[in-house]
Symmetry: C2
Subunit: 500 residues, 2 copies
């Protein structure tokens, strides 16, 4: 076996967290912007001494914990029950579903020893947990009364990526949720796929503020072991899409491999239909940073901000200001929001820049003059504007901003996203859209094997990929539409984009 020396990792330049802002613009040098924002706002330290692994710092962890909270709340509401499965999966489990193991083995980290003893069977650090869940499903599911059987777990998964890693976007360990569900019928399973699509909309769009398209992937781009794969693509400013939650119709493939059977109403033993869904929280966090951040720094949607309100007393040694700051803090906390009074040694201007870079939604600048005039100055990071309000209206105003904030972020993000999607009818048109960092919508011959040569042509000419069809959209195709590449009859509307 050859030694693992080839893999490149984006070399972490040692950028110190500092009061200095970002030195590049997001739209001009996105890659550098992303590297700077991670390090300058202290989201993660990239200097850990194992390739592709990072140390998540408090500013990302606090936000990701809130992301977990919203995801789990919605999943539990929809009847998913939480489990913790072991981090390790025996090799023999992974081998049970042949296409699954084919897809994952090259990326598996293997545990081979316990102390100085070789293990009887080597253990995979789970790259995903189908082969752990479904062997237990076969023990737990007996009858149609047990179905749908809806589970999830919050867990870390591990992939020995052979591509270059990028912090949050593609790391060798990531933090995610995976749901696994067993159903009576194909229809029930597909209903679950649609439910997953709605969950993605309710949480990723409506709370995290991420615009996306939920695609069905072409047959050549399915999850190993799935019969159909669906996934949400989010767009980066550099025109590359990132795959966010994917949901898979595993049909009866894994039920066969793991003997997941149930006795149906008619008394017959049947194989269960299985679906799974995987929101990768640490990767979704990357999209939150990328979609909302700007040239001044981070912008957090209100609900998932690590800190929601910062209070800056302009003169940090003035007793009256400190007293007022603490009073305000208490009142704001009573709204259920997180607040901090900044009593650090920095100058006020530095503090303003610091909290803006950190993406705190609301900042209250408290000066002596305001105090005399019974006014409060509120800076909001959604619009980057200051509002001066009478002291007595402060709490009411903060409550109002807290409700508008994420909506404003969503509106802006949606507009940018929609503006990037353009129709095209031929290869040169697609090329132009891709070069302008957009997503091309085209008529296309086939998302089955038949379409691969057209997909290959697109990839060769533009560096972009057929990402798939959008749910229910093929209906809009007129009967005489032709494939933008081969001019044969078009059966689908597909989207073409560059990707990570």
């Amino acid at each position: 076996m050859s030694r693992d020396k080839k893999v490149s990792q984006e070399k972490p330049k040692e950028i110190k967290p500092s009061q200095e802002g970002l030195t590049v613009k997001k739209d001009e040098n996105f890659s550098e912007w992303f590297t700077q924002i991670i390090q300058k706002t202290e989201l993660a330290d990239l200097r850990y001494n194992v390739k592709g692994f990072l140390v998540f710092q408090p500013w990302s962890v606090l936000s990701m914990e809130k992301m977990y909270y919203y995801l789990e709340k919605v999943l539990q509401k929809k009847g998913h029950k939480p489990y913790f499965f072991p981090t390790v999966i025996p090799e023999s489990n992974l081998k049970k579903e042949s296409s699954h193991i084919g897809g994952f083995t090259p990326e598996v980290f293997w545990v081979t020893h316990g102390g100085d003893k070789e293990l009887e069977e080597k253990l995979a650090l789970r790259p995903t947990s189908e082969t752990a869940f479904y062997q237990m499903f076969s023990l737990w599911i007996r009858s149609y009364n047990d179905l749908p059987f809806k589970t999830y777990q919050r867990a870390n998964v591990f992939r020995h990526e052979t591509k270059a890693t990028r912090p949050f976007l593609r790391s060798r360990e990531f933090h995610w949720i995976e749901t696994h569900c067993a159903h009576e019928s194909e229809e029930d399973a597909f209903r679950q796929v649609k439910e997953d699509m709605n969950t993605t909309k309710e949480v990723l769009h409506d709370i995290f503020g991420l615009p996306f398209i939920f695609f069905e992937r072409p047959s050549w781009d399915k999850f190993p072991g799935a019969s159909r794969t669906f996934a949400a693509d989010v767009l980066n400013p550099d025109g590359k899409v990132i795959q966010q939650p994917s949901t898979h119709m595993l049909s009866q493939n894994f039920s066969k491999a793991f003997d997941v059977k149930f006795k149906d109403k008619d008394g017959k033993e049947k194989l269960a239909w299985i679906t799974c869904y995987g929101p990768a929280v640490s990767r979704i966090f990357a999209s939150v940073i990328i979609v909302h951040g700007d040239d001044k720094g981070l912008k957090f949607p209100f609900e998932i901000a690590p800190l929601q309100v910062a209070i800056v007393p302009i003169n940090k040694d003035d007793d009256k200001l400190i007293k007022k700051s603490k009073e305000l803090k208490k009142e704001i906390e009573e709204l259920g929001l997180s607040v901090e009074v900044d009593l650090s040694e920095k100058r006020p201007g530095e503090k303003f820049n610091y909290w803006e870079m950190k993406g705190v939604p609301i900042r209250i600048d408290l000066g002596l003059k305001d105090l005399e005039n019974k006014k409060i100055t509120i800076f909001r990071r959604d619009t980057d504007k200051k509002e001066v309000v009478p002291e007595k209206d402060a709490i009411k105003t903060i409550e109002k901003i807290s409700k508008e904030f994420t909506k404003n972020l969503i509106q802006k993000a949606d507009k940018i996203f929609e503006g990037r999607i353009k129709d095209s009818e031929n290869l040169s048109g697609i090329k132009k859209i891709i070069e302008n960092n957009g997503i091309a919508r085209i008529s296309f011959c086939s998302t089955e094997k038949a379409g691969t040569s057209c997909a290959a042509k697109i990839e060769k000419e533009t560096g972009a990929f057929v990402r798939g069809t959008k749910f229910d959209e093929d209906k809009k195709l007129s009967t005489n539409s032709k494939c933008a590449i081969c001019s044969k009859k078009a059966n689908h509307i597909v989207y073409v984009a560059r990707a990570y």
Copy 2:
């Protein structure tokens, strides 16, 4: 290297979750009671096909998530910031502190391959994360202004236990929190140890209802790499104590190994003083089950119950009862409590037993007669009594019970615990206390090496161990006290107990 075939694991008998209650009594056959309760109440499935690893089921996960919530809340309030460190630690890190690696290497799971490639350096699945955190501390800490530097992470840790494993109590993967803090001085570090002790009291005792003694361990029983080790011992009905959170004075041992230095007020570069603390949530959960459970099943402290209120409409097909159940559910939810209406196919009696076994704190039995009389029957699992109250007082009563509930559990547990601690003055007395499943308090010569022969004598004669001294208690020792074993001058009051 020899193959790992020796390790025994408590063989999971296949006990089916069932309406039938427990068939043994906790005080008569504790070991069997523990195995039954885990399986019959569906806390964990022990049939996962890797030795020493288990599948945590919803009923334990929901409660453990609440335990995490309270622990993290208190830690954050005390200034600890959350991190996520990688699950893997390079071998070279583990080797940097010589006594640490000596203590942990025999128990480390090693990752040696990524895909089919051998890794350049083998990676440990973290058995604990000192050697990951402190290399980053050396990058993050610069000056006394950065201190105290207080961190924590929620994480899974892995130990290839060579002793027999027991679910929750000693598994090969467990769910925990570890805190790591750097300080300016030994005094500050010791202040942290006392803070950790208070955290243990505030959370483990006052919320989870666990009585414990916080010991300083004898010098021969320290954490590998620590200069002093403190730990909370909780008592099982079989007279064995379980070590719950431990906190360690690592002094400057790891600072030296990992170069954790800071510039002090006097301009001099100094080594930081380090402490760490590790509440193992999945193990604490075991104590919650063991301390509060009874012959009918689980009893959860109110705050960490997976479900707090169950409503059982006696006739589940009666529209009026269903309607009233749902109204009550809504009102109780408005108190911030979790509620379920049981509309399953079971008979009412079965439902009552089921919820009692599951340890739900409050059950509302809703019958037609009660409905007519505008009464509500409330069963509370703390006292195992029913209360019939006017319908209009239902919510008020539930609120009242929710506030008394855990206090009642604590009171009962404290009484049992205190009753088990007995003073003794000689070996035969110790033996008697240990045989009656108690903890013996004795005068003792030395917790340094000098005392080992007395400790060995105790172990040989009684099977029990010197667990340590209790904070500040040695002061109570009279000047002419003698060691209960060797009769030389006693310097300590120590506690002796059997242990897992």
